[in-house]
Amino acid sequence: MSNLWFLYLFFSALLIFIGLYCLLTMRNLIRLFIAVEIISKGVSLAIVATGAVKNSVLLAQSLAITYIVVEVSLVATALALIINIYKKNKSLDVRILSKLKG
């Protein structure tokens, strides 16, 4: 069982790494948000896999569902924000947002 747990956490760490790499290096706002989604996939995989390995899959499942609902709400708000930013700046380049500083 420990090997299985290692396998899932290994892959969830890889997903989190891909997301963090994209967040740190890319400039397109939509792509940055795709990175956030990838990180959230890694986290939900870790939650459910740990629950399954530790015989608490029902609890892990309910936590994963809560996490997905929060994620949807976050996505809707963030994409609305991105559309508003695009309307104002006519670009999705994250560097343009640095003009906001005082």
């Binding site: 760490a13 459910v48 629950g51 530790k54 899959v57 609890l59 609902v69 996505v75 809707a76 609305a80």
Partner: protein, 164 residues
């Protein structure tokens, strides 16, 4: 075990494609395929409800939202990403793969995790009786999301003047 490894590899490959593909629509679609793989993994882990949520909500609804946003923000001059970023990604990825393989195994033995104990009852019982507060919080989060979207898309005085 082999099927699980195939599903996990598919998940990582399509997640990688989501950040490497140039076209944003293709990136969003590959994210949806990654969600599909994650849903199948949830099914195999004995978490069917989480799998259904993952496939229907994340692979379905969120992809539609992404596609809509990409369509609404399409423009000729795309954001130019640094080319070096995509070139050095495989190097960093392999480096992290090695570190992850070396560190994770020893980390699992050192970090105390949840105590392993069999749980009784059904999923409904756990969700409605044990995690009631989570459900209340979920309702709050959904309302907050709806209000935020309404606030972001409300018409201002300038917009009304433009319409006229």
């Amino acid at each position: 075990m082999v099927i699980q490894i195939i599903l996990l590899c598919g998940l990582v490959i399509f997640s990688g494609l989501a950040i490497l593909l140039r076209d944003l629509i293709k990136a969003a679609l590959s994210l949806a395929v990654a969600s599909l793989f994650l849903g199948l993994i949830f099914f195999r882990l004995g978490a069917p409800y989480a799998g259904v949520f993952e496939i229907s909500v994340v692979a379905g609804l969120i992809t539609v939202l992404f596609a809509l946003t990409i369509a609404l923000t399409k423009k000729e001059d795309e954001v130019q990403e640094n080319r070096l970023v995509k070139v050095i990604f495989p190097l960093f990825f392999i480096l992290f793969l090695v570190i992850d393989g070396l560190v994770m195994k020893s980390l699992l033995t050192k970090v105390p995790a949840l105590p392993s104990a069999p749980e009784g009852g059904s999923f409904g019982l756990v969700l409605w009786k044990q995690r009631t507060f989570d459900l209340v919080a979920q309702v709050g989060v959904i309302f907050a999301g709806v209000l935020a979207v309404l606030a972001l898309f409300r018409k201002t005085g300038k917009d009304e003047e433009k319409d006229e």
